[in-house]
Every structure is written in structure tokens, then in C-alpha cells.
Amino acid sequence: MKSRPLFQAAILLLLASTLSAQGTQSFIVMSVIGTVHCVEYPGADQSRLVQGQALGMEAVVSLTTGASARLLYQDQSITLKEAGNYPLKSLVANLPSNSSSFLKRFFNYVYEGIVNTSGSKQIEKYHELYLTQSSGGIKGFAGADYGISLTQPVMGNIIPFPARFEWFSAGDSVLYDFQIVDFQTDGLIFKALLRDTMIVVNLEQLAVEPGRKYYWVVQQKRLGEMAIGFPLADDPYMRSPKVEFVISNQQLSDLTKDLEASEAYKNGVEIDRFLMMAQTMEEANYPSWANRILLEALGKEPANPLIRKVYAAFLIRQGLWEAAQHYL
């Protein structure tokens, strides 16, 4: 008879502890650098994020370029460093398990000590594996600053046709997080997680406005990596440059009508016309269109050294040194 009240009390205690545990399912802002905003729930006004603030699951944190924030969820620290919008619910979904026990960590340590006998002999034997891990000199100096190089100059003014975004492979079993982002607000416009190193996006279908600036960026991801789609650290060696572009509503014929009326163009051979057209497009800051014309010219005469050199020089001017090397 006496055991019944005890049992009831135990159930109540368990229930209360469960409820109180649920009550602490919030994020705490531990540090903020730069301007960071948040919307606490859908439809709420945007407010400034401050340390000590508690945020619920419905909140979305927005970082501007150069800003960072560190949040605490339960006992896990999450650092947001890259500009963008971070719905907290998605962050939780992507958090790695934090439940490895002391015993597991101990045996991992002992096991790694046995398996990874990383000594000088090991380094000598497998030097190829270690060679890329450290280097003298200044990283990125007079060379590529980014881990992902682009093959196509989708930049400058862009006509909202299907655009082909392409980049060099960053290795096997790498996924690519491709994003198109509003330059002014850092709001995400388009996003895709890809295995391929290319994507064709019909810009007409996206919520983009003529005259407005956007950028696109590709971030390396590995399978099983934390927070796919929500990069927690901005490491240039893990991504492409942020390539800015503006949606243009200008008619191409407006740009080319003077050229097409010129004697030089009329009297030139086909290849000369291609080159002149490409130059006009480049001068009007339509590099992607110029690229398209030059590729068309190359398609007609792939071995023509003049076109190859002109195209290589064009790519170098757009900062695509690695892509240019194929044509030199």
C-alpha cells in the first residue's frame, strides 16, 4: 500500500524533469562580433542579437559579411561565421551526436595510438600524404586564394537566360554546396547540394530582380560532414570566390548594333566577327556572354592558336588563371 504514493511521486518527478528539460530546448547567444540580427519567430520584426539572449527553435539568425556569432544549444557550441540566414531548427537537425562516452574516447585514443603510428619513419615512407599538409611561404600569395577554381566567368552583367555555373573538381567524394545569394541582404536565393561540378540554372525562374546585385559561391562538403548547407566557418580554402553578378534587362541588340553597323565588322571574316563581338561584350561588362561567343568560335576552330590565346587572355582578365592554362 505504501509503495503506491512513492510510485506516483516518482512518475510525477520524472514528468516534471522531462518537462523542464524540454523547456531548456533553446539557444543562448554566447558571443557576437559585427552586426547580427534575428527574427525570433515567423512574422516577428527583425531585432539585433545580443549576448545572453535566448532564442527558440523558430528563430532565424542573419549574419552580414564579416560578422560571426557563437550560440549554445544544450551543451553544444555552434559558431556561425559566414554571411547568410540560419534557421535554428535546421541547425539542430544538422548537429552531430555529442554522446561519445569517456570509455569510447579512451579506447579510440589507444586504438589510434596503435594504428596511426605517425612517426618520422612513417612520414618518410608516405611522404606524398604529408607533403600537402604544410608549406612555407604566404598562403594564397600571388596565386589562387580559393580551394575551388571556376572554369566559367559567370559574373558581371548577366542576361537572365539559363546560366551554366561550372568549377574544377576539388577531389573525389566531395559534395558541392552551390548557392546564389542576394548581395545586399545575404538572403539565400537558390541552393543545391551537388555531386557534379556543374549546374545550369535558369535565372528567369528565380526570384531575382534586374539591376540588383547577387553573388554565387560553391562550398566543399564531405559526406557526413556537419551542417550540410550551413557552413559554420568561412574558410576560403574550402570554397570558391564569391562571384558577383547583376541581372541585366538590357537588350543584347542594343549593345551590338553599333558594332554590327561598323565597316570592320561587315568586312571581317567569321572568326574576326566573333572576336570583335566578344570584345564588345567584355567591354560592356558582359563577360559570360563574351565567354559564350569565344567558346562558339573555339568550337568552330578548336586548334586555331589565335582564338586559343585570345580566350586564354580573356579568362586571365576574369581571374580564371587555372581555366586559362588549358588554352595556353
Partner: protein, 398 residues
């Protein structure tokens, strides 16, 4: 009686004693020699428990210390510091610890502004440094680097840690006697103003130095001084009550990014590389915050007395020798293989138990001599049986 006869053996006792003589000779003649310096410098400043901190701790787990807030003011000038302290004071903190040395007087106008800002804060602990020890008087000289103009009416505390210049910070001294009276360590003084009963508990332990129980550097809310000077942000922060009734530690805390000046940065056992060269991993202010956390939460490290460690070491060695000697006598053909295997298993097991006790119970004990004795015992048994015993007839009768 039969049990004691089984476990007591004169040969075993002599081999154990010989083993410790070997260890002693080894330490005297080898470890103190300079040609072993690279080895020494790499490993002398290392404790087994460092592995617990750097490898077995759940590095992803953050235990938020709600009572403490860090404010990073970089390397401030006094006018800037005055403005930041004004803002902090307006948030009604419980106590403010200023880990910036205000040595000497500078511009009278800014100095008076700073003094006025300091005076507005009801409880302020100011950083100073112990720089000289008078061995004759057995007292420290009065703490330096805090000008009397600023310290007037405020508490002073020393920011020194107990360590060699570039060593790992593991210890702090809770209080020291100076020619001006007793002074507390910076973190201890700040906690004393916030929760005096906690410091009473620390002092009751009567340890001249305490080991720091490091909990991490991400456990604290951190605010940039520049942001405090932004009106809108400051209003939001005040509304949030982030600093109200808290312990505020003001000083230099970088963001641990590459290229930051190595100012007030130290090595701690949390460093992911526990031996050899690496980068200092914690700012002084973060170490003070860790000490304050440890005192606030009564998380002290317990050390076994030296004599207990010695006793365990001797007993450990004795029973190993007893076992190995038995194997040597009775299973002589496989003595080498079995002994080495047992040594390996024992080594991992001891390491596991040391780590386990430290991780869960914060009990630290040093079994270095016992382990070394266990490893040497194999060779000492061989030397004893094949050389010493054959030369000394008396031993053959034991």
C-alpha cells in the same frame, strides 16, 4: 599464516629495493644531465592527466557558466577604458574584475575620467602583480602596476599564476602574504566579492597552491568592448540583463584566430597538443575565469599525498616482481613473452584508471615511479637471478 608466506618473499623484496635503487640512480645520473634536455623539455612539462584534458574531455560539450561574463577591451587607452567601464557600471553588475594594469599616471584629464568611471562601480577588483619576494622576511613586496590614484578605495589582487615562463599553467596560489598584508589571487578576490562562502571553502583546504580544474574557454558569454559603446546595442544588452548581478571580467581576450598578437596567452592542459611545441591556447582572462568557475562550483582537484603515492608505487612494484619472479622460476621458458604481455596490459590498465579517476572524481595521483619500476622489474629480475644471486651465497639460501 600460509597466505602471508605466499605473498612475502625475501627475494622479491630485494629485487623491489634494487629496482628503486636503479630508478633513483637513473634519475640522478641521467635525467639531470643536459644532453637529455630536448627529451626533458619535451616531456618534463607533461602530466598523464594532460591527455585527459586534451583527448578524453568531450571538447564539443560546453557547460555555460552563467555567473561570469568576459568583456574584451583589447589593448585599450584609458579614455576608451573609462567609457567601457561606464557602460558596464550602468548594467549593475555584482562585481567587476579589471585585468588591465593601470601602472603610473598619464594624461590628467583621461586619468580623472577613468578614476571617475572606476568609482561608479560599487565593487571593483583591480589587477596588480607580485614581482619580488623578500626571502629574509619571507614576504612578497607590495603588489605593483596599479597606481595608487586608481586603487584608492578599490580592491587589488594579483594576476600571477604559478608557473615557469613558458610552461603549462596548472597551478594558482589562492593568497599570498605581502609587506602590505594579505592579497588574494585575481579570480579568488572576484569570487570573494561575489560569493564569499565559496572562497571560505577554498581557504579551508589550506593548500598553498591549488591545481586549476580547467573547464574550457567557450563556457562564458563574451562581449566586445566596442559593441558596448554602440548605443542601440547597449540598450538591447541592458534590456536583456546580460550583465546585471554578474561577475564581469574585463581584459584582453582575442578570438583565437591565427595572426593575433601573443599577448597574455598561455599554454594550458587543454591544448590539443599535449607534448612538444604548439600555440598558447588560452588568454589570461580565460584562465582567471576558469579558476573562478572552479571555486564557484567547488570543483577542486584532489591529490594523493606523496607518501601514499610512494607506498602504492612500492606495493605495485613488489607484487609485479612477485608475479614475474614466480613466472621466472616456474615457467622459465616463456618468461620473456608472458612478462612483456602482462606489462603491456598493466600499462594500459593503469593509464585507464588514472584517467578515469581524474575525469570523474578529479583525483590525481602520480604513479610514474611505480610504472617505471614495473617496466624495469623484468630486467632487474634477470640481473638478480643471473648475476647477483650467483655471486652472493647468502642470497641463494633465501
Amino acid at each position: 599464516m600460509a597466505f602471508w608466506r605466499k605473498i612475502f618473499d625475501w627475494n622479491t623484496l630485494i629485487i623491489t629495493a634494487l629496482t628503486f635503487v636503479f630508478i633513483w640512480m637513473f634519475q640522478v645520473f641521467f635525467f639531470s644531465r643536459h644532453f637529455l634536455d630536448p627529451f626533458n623539455n619535451g616531456l618534463r612539462d607533461y602530466e598523464v592527466t594532460d591527455i585527459v584534458y586534451s583527448k578524453f574531455r568531450n571538447a564539443n560539450s560546453v557547460d555555460w557558466v552563467k555567473e561570469i561574463v568576459l568583456v574584451n577591451v583589447g589593448q585599450p587607452n584609458r579614455a576608451y577604458l573609462a567609457k567601457v567601464l561606464d557602460r558596464i557600471g550602468a548594467c549593475e553588475p555584482s562585481v567587476v574584475g579589471l585585468d588591465i594594469e593601470l601602472d603610473g599616471r598619464k594624461d590628467p584629464a583621461t586619468d580623472s575620467l577613468l578614476k571617475a568611471s572606476i568609482e561608479k562601480i560599487p565593487v571593483m577588483v583591480m589587477a596588480s602583480r607580485l614581482i619580488a619576494f623578500d626571502t629574509a622576511a619571507k614576504l612578497f613586496e607590495p603588489p605593483a602596476y596599479c597606481d595608487p590614484y586608481f586603487r584608492d578605495g578599490n580592491l587589488r589582487a594579483f594576476t600571477n599564476f604559478v608557473s615557469e615562463d613558458t610552461s603549462i599553467i596548472r597551478l594558482f596560489s589562492p593568497r599570498e602574504q605581502t609587506k602590505e598584508g594579505e592579497f588574494y589571487a585575481f579570480a579568488v578576490e572576484v569570487v570573494r566579492q561575489f560569493a564569499p562562502d565559496k572562497v571560505d571553502e577554498l581557504l579551508r583546504r589550506e593548500n598553498p597552491v591549488e591545481r586549476i580544474w580547467f573547464t574550457g574557454r567557450e563556457n562564458f558569454i563574451k562581449i566586445e568592448g566596442d559593441r558596448l559603446l554602440e548605443d542601440l546595442y547597449f540598450q538591447d544588452l541592458q534590456k536583456q540583463g546580460t550583465l546585471k548581478d554578474k561577475m564581469i571580467l574585463v581584459g584582453y581576450v582575442g578570438s583565437h584566430q591565427p595572426g593575433e598578437p601573443e599577448l597574455d596567452r598561455f599554454f594550458t592542459p587543454l591544448n590539443s597538443r599535449y607534448t612538444g611545441r604548439s600555440y598558447p591556447d588560452m588568454y589570461g582572462l580565460e584562465i582567471h575565469a576558469n579558476i573562478a568557475t572552479m571555486v564557484l562550483r567547488d570543483k577542486y582537484i584532489f591529490q594523493l599525498p606523496k607518501w601514499v603515492e610512494e607506498l602504492i608505487g612500492w606495493l605495485f612494484c613488489y607484487f609485479n616482481v612477485l608475479m614475474f619472479h614466480w613466472i621466472y622460476v616456474h615457467v622459465h621458458s616463456t618468461f620473456h613473452g608472458i612478462t612483456r604481455l602482462i606489462q603491456l596490459v598493466e600499462l594500459v590498465s593503469i593509464f585507464f584508471f588514472i584517467a578515469l579517476f581524474f575525469y570523474y572524481f578529479r583525483i590525481q595521483f602520480n604513479l610514474a615511479d611505480g610504472i617505471l619500476a614495473m617496466l624495469l622489474s623484468y630486467d632487474v629480475i634477470m640481473i638478480y637471478e643471473s648475476l647477483i644471486k650467483k655471486k652472493i651465497k647468502f642470497l641463494q639460501k633465501l
